[in-house]
Amino acid sequence: MTLPPRLENKFSELLKRYPVKRSALVPMLLYTQDVFGYIGDEMVAEIARRLDLNTLQVTETLVYYSMLRREPAGRCHVQVCTNIACKLRGGEKLWEHAQKRLGVGHKQTSADGVFSLEEVECIGACTGAPAVQVNYDFHENLTPEKLDKILDEFQAGRKPSPAPYIIGSIHERHPAEAPVISRRFGIPNSRKIDVYRKHEGYQALEKALNEMTPESIIEEVKKSNLRGRGGAGFPAGMKWSFVPKDSPKPKYIIANADESEPGTCKDRPLMEFDPHQLIEGMVIAGRSVNSYQGYIYVRGEYRYVLDIMDEAIREAYEHGFLGKNILGSGFNFDLCTHTGAGAYECGEESALMESLEGKRGYPRIRPPFPAVVGLYGCPTVINNVETLSSVPSVILKGAEWYANLGPARNGGTRLFCISGHVNKPGIYELPMGFNLLRMINEVAGGVRGGKKLKAVVPGGSSTPALKAEECDIPMDFDSLAKAGSMLGSGGVVVLDEDTCMVDFARRIMKFYAHESCGWCIPCREGTSWIKKILDRFHAGGGRAEDIPLIDEAAKNMFGRTFCPLGDAAAMPTMAIVKKWRHEFEEHLNGRCPYKPLDVPVGV
């Protein structure tokens, strides 16, 4: 079959990236869809042929990913996020408005074929909420009126300019901030290699290659108390040290840029403003475990970020920071990006590797852990973008300096994405252990409209919400664990007194039910069951026995699922039932008593 040249070129370029052809599958499908608007049977067969797969293997993979379509959509595919951060700022109203305005519903296309509409899960624009994606363009901080204007433009055949960058990432620095990994945000052309180099760029790599051994790099990272920023907070240096040194197999470094935990949008600016920082961190990580190939797994929705990364990688090759014999050290390291196609579960490290191998994103049985058996069965280090982006600073400024930025066992700084009912939503780099109340009241400008604080989700939707009175707490892994929650991914979602916690729990569960991969029974059935109960409950059909039922169903999932997604769904639910049980009871008379504002404020 002859393909349009740009697709043909993309395919042949993609096929060069992987030692195993099948890895190219998901990107090939997504790029096919970009060209044709959908993936037809002919292309399924063609891709199968090119990858030596049968068509079922292609179909099976295709239908797993929520961005991939087998039917055409509109020329402008309007994706409205209604997940928590957007919801709290009017996302659901925007969604209703969009349906009315376009006269179509979820996954429907307008008669003229111009628009199709989809209600989507968190797109990583939480500090710019409410947000909409039209095709790959982000439009943020929207109101129904602003959305109308944007749609008018599209209707007229024009392309309105998207948000220039993620809203909330560039702002006046608060004095309490400690910019380390975000220190180059806002510098003009910060993503260009020259600018990066002018601002200490690639100096850490030079140091690592010329002055350090792989062992001493790992030692330094260990000493820095740098803990994983993807959610679990596992010490990065320790993880690297698990890679078997004498294994004859190739070793891989993966940057997890799947960023999909609702409330989290920090990897996006880290890559869009400072792609070289991530590259530098990955090369150093590669050196430490003697790996010569890295992949950056970027969620499919972040296409422009992926393009930025690709360009930065090109520059880095050009300047000899990637490729053969880097800086004359004899060390070789290749790096490329890989696009996902819509699946939260693919952020889970083992599911990510399955996905990167071109399969459905099912998690793997552990042990063995990725450090020993990872991508293509080889030892693999996988870290979050923020974790890897912190590495150059650790190396350049020293472990001690870095560790001392935070409290014991919690080195460095964190990018906190503060969203929801605050006056100044934004991404702020603060030292580990920074007080949560201060974060809300001082850094993010306080609860909007002078309302009272009701609850805070401290680290992405899976972390148990804290009651207002629990918020006087240092934001570090250990303190939050002690408080029965987690520091998680850095997504701080603030809820004011008008928020309905039943509705909030419902929206959280809707997300996990949508994103459950379906592999294991408790998560697959539990998330969907609890969602159905919460739907009914919030809509006025609640029964007294539903309250313990919701709690028990969540408890019955907890700790028994195949991967932590089940826990991620159960934990916030259990916490809300426990801490806000009275709100459930208030719903029993058939009506939700809360009147949330749910509109953008302070924009």
């Binding site: 099976e60 994103e515 379906g518 592999w519 294991c520 059935e525 539990g526 700790g559 028994r560 195949f562």
Partner: protein, 745 residues
């Protein structure tokens, strides 16, 4: 052998010592401790998806899945704590939230693992009041149906089709709670239609088109017997109700085939009830076949045989036996031909040269024949000729099992790119008909191979020479001396080498073993061997002819010349198999024991309606030399077993003065005589009765007979496919209903 490492751990306060690497679920089950599981299926890859097998492990913060937990020294496991019981209950509650609970109308009701587990561990009351997901049942093929709401997504079907069958026709669609199993062609299957996916399905999500809504499991009687089709001898359990076979499967995983059955074993039983079945004897009168009574028909057969023998001598009569009748029946036929009539004109359609293999192996023949189990456990397999996927499905399954479970290496020499090539460590494609040359080259290094082939063969031989435990499997392409060559090559390998010759039909091997051959008595002793002749003669009360008889082709040729006057056929279709010309003109008289009017029986003078394999007791021997018991599952009124026909006939003949009647009254009695008198058949009766496959240990002294190249006209494979089965296959309606069968013929 290095001592196997073991570990000792505790389960429910019991100390167990097991080989290192044993999964806790296996260790528990072997000690009789029940650990419920849906996704775990021995032999398939691990999933840990259903979470039914959660157990408590001391010092572990969470419950662990016993299906992935490897027993370790000092580990303390508990499967019977309140926490574990609750977890099981909760898991079932989750599972039942979307399960339709239509058990009363579900085919699986009564033998459903979900039903059983709910009964044993589940709640009695549902807390689920929301709407369940609905979707209609789908017909993926005439024999495979899928009901998505019942599916519990254990992925057993997907794995068995991929890992077991290497077909990869099933996958998973959608995700999360919407996940479903999907077939490879959007809304239907294009596959081998083996139905393995149905057998492994723990619930009623995959059901058999042959059986759907026909009956309930408890209304059938179950008859374990052996599949009537190919030579591999899979055990199949017939579900019989009202004298009708409702289904055939192997859900209890017994027999040499364990999990496996192919489309023929599972669906190829309906020939039994085919409307064309002959149910009354037919005798040709005034040029047409007319209904006759059994008494008249048999009396006429005896009278005519006597007449021909008296007029033209015994060698004017020929006997062509069957590839599908039992050992006892074959033994009786040989005894009748040689002992009563007095001729060595005895043969059958030979589909493998078993005699040559037995003779080439000499003293070691017993040990050097691989059984199906040994094939599945082999470390290396050399396959020359044949296409096991189509012709010998269990052999193909065992080869895949060896590769999958022991990392065995497969070497294939074939003229076609057969499907097993995908699994081969090395595949050498050779010119059509070159297999014997390859055998010679392997044994002697001599023979003109094409340059490419010889380079590849050199590599193959090099690889084989490093193998310690090999099975050499070959098809009818190798005969006579070529087999001797292969055995010589095998003997030159450093480790142990075993062999399987691949024949084609359910008792091809037994027909050979029982001496339905013009030059061999039962157990491959040559008719020229006076001592052997005497021994059988004494047993049979006759003096046996020495001179080599005519083979099938020669009989037909002699008949055409008028030298052979009468032909006695049992369960064979020689006019089609050996000749294009139909009934030879010079043949005075033909009698056929048959189930159907075939190209042969329709031209016969007398047709005796025979019972089929599922309607008789007896034994059959598979291509690997393993004897198994057939059990009668039902009867078709009006038919008689070939055994009874031959037995009664012997009495009639004897009454007419032709030889001594055969005194063996039952197949058991005949088996007893076989076990005592046929070399290699001293198999264990208790073993057989227990449903085992008993290995024969044949031994065929050369007695001065050199193995020579046998022409392909004498020994050849009909090359049946998964969807054909010789003449019998034409009456398997269900098999014809699948689209793949159509594209075959």
């Amino acid at each position: 052998m290095p001592e196997q490492k073991t570990v000792t751990f505790t389960i429910n306060e019991r100390k167990l010592t097991v080989p290192a690497g044993t999964l806790v679920i296996e260790a528990a089950r072997r000690t009789g401790i029940e650990v419920p599981a849906f996704c775990y299926y021995p032999g398939l890859s691990l999933q840990a998806a259903c979470r039914m097998c959660l157990v408590e492990v001391e010092k572990a913060p969470k419950l662990q899945t016993a299906c992935t937990l490897v027993a370790a020294d000092g580990m303390v496991v508990r499967t019977d704590t309140p926490q574990v019981h609750k977890a099981r209950k909760d898991m079932l509650e989750f599972l039942l939230t979307n399960h339709p609970l239509d058990c009363p109308v579900c085919d699986k009701g009564g033998e459903c693992e979900l039903q059983d587990m709910t009964f044993r561990y589940g709640l009695d009351k549902s807390r689920f009041v929301e709407e369940k997901l609905h979707s209609p049942e789908q017909a993926w093929s005439p024999v495979v149906y899928y009901d998505a709401p019942r599916c519990i997504l254990c992925f057993r079907c997907v794995r068995v089709c991929d890992e077991g069958m290497d077909v990869k026709a099933l996958g998973v669609g959608q995700r999360g709670v919407l996940s479903v199993i999907i077939p490879n062609r959007e809304d239907h299957l294009e596959c081998e239609e083996c139905g393995m996916c149905i057998d492994v399905c723990p619930v009623g999500a995959l059901t058999s088109g042959a059986y759907r809504y026909k009956t309930r499991p408890w209304e059938m009687k179950y008859v374990p017997t052996v599949c009537a089709h190919c030579s591999n001898g899979c055990k199949t359990t017939l579900g019989v109700r009202n004298n009708e076979i409702q289904r055939a499967n192997n859900r209890d995983l017994s027999g040499i085939n364990k999990d496996f059955l192919c489309v023929k074993g599972r669906y190829g039983f309906d020939f039994v009830h085919h409307p064309d079945r002959l149910k009354q004897p037919l005798v040709r009168r005034n040029g047409t076949l007319q209904i006759a009574s059994w008494e008249d028909a048999l009396a006429e057969v005896a009278a005519r045989l006597k007449t021909v023998r008296d007029a033209h001598g015994p060698d004017a009569i020929g006997f062509i036996g069957s590839n599908r009748t039992t050992n006892e029946e074959n033994y009786l036929l040989g005894r009748l031909a040689r002992g009563l009539v007095g001729t060595n004109n005895v043969d059958h359609h030979r589909t493998a040269d078993y005699g040559a293999l037995v003779q080439a192996l000499g003293e070691s023949a017993g040990a050097a024949q691989a059984g199906m189990e040994q094939l599945g456990a082999a470390k290396a397999i050399l396959l020359i000729g044949n296409d096991p996927t189509n012709q010998n499905p269990l052999v193909a399954w065992q080869i895949r099992t060896a590769i999958r479970q022991n990392g065995a290496r497969l070497y294939v020499v074939n003229t076609e790119e057969i499907k097993l090539k995908r699994k081969a460590a090395q595949f050498v494609r050779v010119a059509s008909g070159a297999e014997a040359l390859i055998a010679q080259w392997l044994a002697t290094g001599e023979g003109d191979l094409e340059l490419d082939t010889s380079v590849e063969m050199m590599q193959l031989r090099g690889a084989m020479e490093k193998e310690r435990d090999a099975v050499i499997v070959f098809g009818a392409e190798l005969r006579g001396a070529a087999i001797e060559h292969v055995v010589k090559f095998g003997a030159s390998l450093p480790g142990q080498t075993r062999y399987i010759a691949l024949g084609d039909y359910a008792n091809s091997r037994g027909a050979s073993d029982m001496g339905l051959l013009p030059d061999r008595l039962p157990g491959y002793v040559w008719t020229s061997d006076a001592a052997a002749r005497d021994a059988f003669g004494k047993l049979w009360g006759a003096s046996l002819p020495e001179k080599t008889g005519l083979d099938s082709r020669q009989m037909l040729a002699a008949a055409a010349r008028g030298a052979l006057k009468a032909l006695y056929v049992v369960g064979a279709n020689p006019f089609r198999t050996f000749g294009a010309g139909g009934r030879p003109a010079g043949l005075d008289w033909v009698v056929v024991q048959e189930m159907f009017l075939t190209e042969t029986s329709r031209d016969a003078d007398i047709v005796l309606p025979a019972a089929c394999a599922y309607e008789k007791d007896g034994t059959v021997t598979n291509t690997a030399g393993e004897v198994q018991l057939l059990r009668r599952g039902l009867e078709t009124m009006g038919t008689r077993t070939d055994f009874d026909i031959l037995r009664i006939l012997s009495h009639q003949l004897s009454k007419a003065g032709v030889g001594r009647a055969i005194p063996l009254r039952t197949p058991e009695a005949a088996l007893d005589e076989i076990r005592r008198s046929v070399r290699g058949y001293g198999v264990s009766l208790p073993g057989l009765l227990a449903g085992g496959a008993e290995r024969t240990a044949p031994l065929a002294p050369a007695n001065g007979h050199k193995l020579i190249d046998v022409p392909a006209e004498s020994i050849f494979s009909p090359r049946d496919t998964l969807f054909t089965s010789g003449t019998l296959g034409r009456y398997c309606t269900m098999i014809h209903s699948v689209p793949e069968a159509k594209s075959e013929s």
